[in-house]
Every structure is written in C-alpha cells, then in structure tokens.
C-alpha cells in the first residue's frame, strides 16, 4: 500500500521500527512479566529524538504533528504497546499545553519534554468520573497565592513516572463541567502524592497510578487557558489523541498478524503447514484487510487534524473505534491460529490479545464514541452537509 508519507515521515517510521526491534523486542516479555516501567527504552527514545517528533521547532522539537506521532506509536506498538503508550502518554500530557498554553508555559516545559528529560501525563479520570467526565470531584480553589487542589485522580498513565501533569479540576463546582479548569502541576509540588500502582491485564510495562492532591498549592501561572475552559480543553485534547490510540491498535494488530502468518507457515499438521488450509488462509486474509483499513482510517484522521481542520471529533472517534475493534479481533484470531501454544506466555500473541483490550476502553470507550459519532452524524445531516 502506498501511504504517501514524506521522506521525513518514512525516516521517523523506520527509526521507530529499529528501536522497537533492537531495544524493545529483547525485553518485552520481561517488562510484561515484571510490570516494569521501561526507563531504559524511554532513554533510547529520547536519544533518538522521538520526543521531539510532536513538539514545534521553536521549543527544540522537530515540528511534526498527529501523523508523525501516530507513526512512532504504531511502530512501537507492533512490538510492545505497553512501551508505546508510556511514550504516547507524554504527548497526551502536553497536548493541552501545546494548544492552549501561553508562551512562558511552553518555554518552561516543552524543551524538557522534547529532549526526553521529563515525561508528562494527563489526568482527568476519577473513581466517579469515567465516561461521564463531568462528574469529577477534584477541586481547585482560588486562594491569594494561587490554586489549592484537593481530590484523587484514578488510572493515570505515567502516574508517578512523569514529571509534568495536566490536571483537570473544578474551579467552580457549582457550574459543573463549565466550572472545570486545566492546570500544569510539577511532580515535586508539596501536597501532591501518588497512590497505588494498578495491576493490569495488559500494557503491563506502562504504569497506571492514582494521583492524590491534599491542599496542593499550584501557582496561578500554571493555569492553562482560562478558568472554566477545562472541559473544552479536555474534549479537544482527547479528539487529538484518539488517532494515537488508533495507531497503537494498528501496530498491535500488525504485530499479531505478522506473528500469525509466520506461525501458520511453519506449523505442520496433517503433513502440511496449516497455511495451506483454506480456513486459516481466510482468517489471515480477513485480518490483513482489516488491519490495512484501520491503518488508512487512522492516517486519514491524523492528516485531517494536521491539515488544521477546525472540527475532527467524528474522524478521530471513527479511527479509534474501528482500529481498536480491529486490534481485539485480529489479536484474538492470532491466538486462535497459534492454537494451544498461542495461549502460553512463551509466544507473544497472548500478550497482544491482553494488550488489545484496553484500546477499546480508554480515551473514550467504544460505546461512548459510537454515540459521539452518531451525534456528529445527526448534526451534519441537520446542516445538510
């Protein structure tokens, strides 16, 4: 397939693949088994300029956009999506800063992100606020010296590992979601601590923790945008990040597909490789077609965002939903083609199947996103577009 990538995009993709194969592949099973945060690989990614990909040139980045980020995430996920999401969470963590931050904030934080010196994280979810993000309870009350944060965030990717956190908190609880604001919080801020590290089904190399705020004073200059913009910022950040989850899913599915093809070619049953069985051939053909369709949808959504389009909610949601459902199906079928050994941890496909599940859940569950798509569909029809 011709993806019409530029030379620079091809270079980024090829280098990401090399890092994945040379640095991640040898340790992925161990990282999964030990639930260990991949610090050494984060350093490799930083040294290779991978954190510069999504940062503008004026802040020491390489000026890429959503597509460049997707290419890296896809290639890393092809080998280990736990590592890939640890990388991608940093992009998510500074997305609101990139779009809504002021010059001082960008100068202060982005060069360190670009160099890979500091990782970032984005924190919205709470125990009572998952799909219903407006139900958050964390508050940020205005005091003389700044804002005082109180509350607990849950399931935060890179929690405890990142140095820079974007926190969504209520500055005006009476106004509900319209009273939410976004803040940049440094890891070492007094009153900011970390709760338990979650034990997960998949993406186990990534860290997921609670963030706890107890009278945590955040200086006024760390407010992103204006008070009350928190929810708008959040929706925008998630619209932007969804193709990235799509890319994670595509990479995962691609890895599973390749493993299944290799295995089917060498597994002998009834005197022949199982690849010669039409039942297996059709499964593989279906998997390959689905992966390709998902990739094209993800790239198209990313390109729509990079083109400067004003609204891309629908495209981003479609890319995420389609790619994640594809990843779940393709990894499940890969385990099926492997048969008994596919169920064992000695082979990589059971991990891929475990890793795939989360892509249907986070960054907007696929059910919620289908409602989002339907809503956009109705709006468009009403506008007679």
């Amino acid at each position: 397939m011709e993806y019409f990538l530029t030379e620079q995009q091809k270079t980024i993709k090829a280098l990401a693949r090399r890092i994945a194969e040379e640095r991640i592949l040898p340790v992925r099973a161990e990282l999964d088994e030990k639930e260990e945060f991949p610090w050494a690989i984060m350093k490799d990614l930083a040294d290779a300029d991978m954190f510069r990909v999504f940062i503008p040139e004026e802040y020491d980045g390489l000026g890429g956009g959503c597509l460049e980020l997707c290419l890296v995430v896809e290639e890393l996920s092809r080998v280990c999506s736990g590592v890939a999401i640890s990388y991608a969470a940093t992009a998510l963590g500074c997305s609101s800063l990139l779009e809504y931050g002021n010059e001082e904030q960008k100068q202060k934080y982005l060069p360190d992100v670009a160099s890979g010196k500091r990782l970032a994280a984005f924190a919205l979810t709470e125990s009572t606020a998952g799909s219903d993000a407006s139900a958050i309870k964390t508050t940020a009350s205005r005091e003389k010296e700044g804002y005082v944060l109180n509350g607990t965030k849950q399931f935060i990717t890179n929690g405890g590992e990142a140095d820079i956190y974007t926190i969504i908190a209520l500055t005006n609880p009476e106004r509900g979601s319209r009273g939410a604001s976004a803040f940049l919080v440094d890891k070492d801020t007094p009153g900011f601590s970390f709760g338990k590290k979650e034990k997960k089904m998949g993406i186990r190399a990534s860290t997921t923790r609670e963030l706890i705020f107890r009278n945590c004073l955040v200086p006024e200059e760390n407010l992103i945008g204006k008070e009350g913009m928190g929810f708008i910022i959040t929706m925008r950040v998630l619209d932007r990040s969804r193709p990235g989850i799509g890319a994670q899913a595509v990479g995962l599915a691609q890895g599973a597909l390749e493993a299944a093809v290799d295995y089917a070619r060498q597994r002998i049953q009834f005197g022949h490789p199982i690849y010669s069985l039409q039942a297996v051939q059709h499964m593989l053909a279906e998997m390959a077609t689905q992966v390709e369709a998902a990739r094209l949808l993800v790239y198209a959504a990313a390109r729509t965002i990079d083109s400067g389009a004003k609204d891309f909610t629908e495209e981003a949601a479609m890319a995420k939903v389609f790619a994640s459902d594809t990843a779940m199906r393709v990894t499940t079928d890969a385990v099926q083609i492997f048969g008994g050994v596919g169920y064992m941890r000695d082979y990589p496909v059971e991990k891929m199947m475990r890793d795939a599940k989360i892509t249907q859940i986070y960054e907007g569950s696929n059910q919620v996103l289908r409602s989002t798509i339907a809503l956009e569909l109705r709006k468009r029809r009403a506008r007679r577009e």
């Binding site: 270079t11 980024i12 280098l15 090399r18 890092i19 040379e22 640095r23 490799d44 040294d47 290779a48 300029d49 991978m50 510069r52 990909v53 390489l62």
Partner: protein, 261 residues
C-alpha cells in the same frame, strides 16, 4: 580532544562467496554494513567527545559507496567524515591500507586518539590498527575494553588479555583497537539522520594524499592472494550406541586408543 575513528564497509553476511578468477569477495547482491567492531570504536569515540569535548572525525578507505558508512557515522554523532577513494587504492592488503590511512590522518590538523575496531569481519586479520600506529610512530594498545580516564596528555585503559584485564597508561596521541565489551553502540537520532543526509563528505584520492601510486592499493601491498578456498569440512564424529555401561566402556577404550587418557 581530537578523535579519529577508522571505519570499514564490509559485506553484511557470513556467507561470503569468492570470485575464483580474482580471488576477491563477490560483493554484488549483498547489503553492505559498517564492520560491527568499528561501531564500538565509533561509539567510544563519541563518548570520549561527550565526556571531554572535542570532535570525532571518521575515515574510511573504500569504493565510492563506502560513503554510506560515513553518513551512518554522522547520524550517531561523528562530526566529520573523510572518504579515501581512488582506483589506485583497490586491492590493498593491510599494509597498504594502513599506509593510506596513516597518510590521511597525518594530513589532519591534530589527532589525539585514533580508534579502530579489533578486526574486520571480512579480512579478520586485526593488523591495520597496529600497523597504523607503527607508521604514525605513536603508541598502540589492542583489545581495549574500557577507557578509565584521560588526563594531562595520558590515557588509562583496560585491555582484555586471556587471563583477565591489564591496565595500561599511554601517552597521547595513541592508537587503540576496541572489543565489543567496551560499550553498546547507540542508535541514530532523527536530528543525526538529517545531519547525515545533508553532510558533505570530502573524497581524498591518491593526489590529495600526495602518495606514490606504487605505495598504495595492490601495488603497495606486501602480500598477494594466490588462492582462496573453503576449508573442507571433515566430520569425524561418531555416535556410540547400546546400553549406557557399554557406551561408557567403548568411550574409555577409544580415548585410550587416541592416547587422550
């Protein structure tokens, strides 16, 4: 600190085929790579630069396409690269190669440390490093596994010997060859790749080096390859059968017959 790293482009395979007419390697259809041992030399050069400042200049002698390895070197941190390429350099043995490299390095403004890989994976002789030091008239340390420190014109290194390690202190400038235990070479960076793509790599021919054509390449070589052949693989293995006791007896007998025990 001015660091010079010598690199060689080699065929990226262990299954080399030989042209029986010319007694040289058949390179067509084989992807070329940087000699793996040289990648450790380059990484160490870049690390010395990062630790002590200075610059890394890479030098390679080879056909025009050897420029690829020099670009690769720039992508992982080399500052400058020089390609020594001339039809007169073709067919060089280690002596002529070392001579050509020595002439090129002598032309550089200054050099403090020259690093080579312990050997190449195609020629496998490990001679160019020491010959280079001899020709430049400077000290040489082989099989370096660690650079302990550089201070006041001296460098302390560990070198691997059969029994363990030796610590050697050498005045600079010096030539060292390194083993793979010394480091883990880094991957290129995106900025490095962009720099490598745009780098201008000068080509020095015999004329630029001011060498007599009789002292380089095949004419300058002290050795001639008369014949190249694959050694015959002779299998003398024997599998003993039968009960464990009789197998053990038979093994002991055979070892006695062979006067091993």
């Amino acid at each position: 600190m001015n660091i010079v790293v010598c690199l060689k482009q080699v065929p990226g395979t262990t299954e080399v085929r030989i042209d029986s007419q010319t007694n040289t390697l058949i390179r067509e259809g084989i992807k070329n790579i940087v000699n793996p041992f040289d990648t450790y030399a380059l990484e160490e050069g870049v690390r010395i630069k990062e630790r002590y400042g200075g610059k890394v200049t890479t030098v390679s002698m080879g056909p025009p396409q050897a420029e690829e390895v020099l670009r690769e070197a720039i992508s992982v941190g080399a500052d400058e690269a020089i390609l020594l390429s001339d039809s007169a350099f073709a067919g060089a043995d280690t002596l002529a190669t070392a001579y050509t490299l020595a002439r090129a390095i002598s032309k550089l403004e200054q050099y403090d440390i020259i690093i080579c890989g312990r050997q190449t994976i195609d020629g496998d002789t490990g001679q160019v490093g020491p010959e280079l030091a001899e020709m430049l008239g400077i000290p040489f340390v082989a099989y370096v596994s660690k650079i302990e420190g550089i201070d006041n014109g001296y460098m302390r290194v560990q070198r691997m010997v059969e029994e363990g390690h030796e610590v050697i202190e050498t005045p600079l400038p010096a030539v060292i060859t390194v083993v793979k235990e010394i480091n883990m070479p880094r991957l290129p960076s995106l900025r490095g790749l962009a720099k490598a793509k745009n780098a201008v790599i000068p080509v020095w021919a015999a004329q630029e080096l001011g060498v007599d054509r009789n002292t380089v390449g095949l004419l300058g070589s002290a050795t001639r390859v008369i014949k190249i052949f694959f050694p015959q693989r002779v299998h003398h293995g024997e599998i003993l059968q039968g009960e464990l006791d009789s197998q053990a007896d038979s093994l002991v007998n055979k070892l006695r017959q062979a006067r091993v025990i």
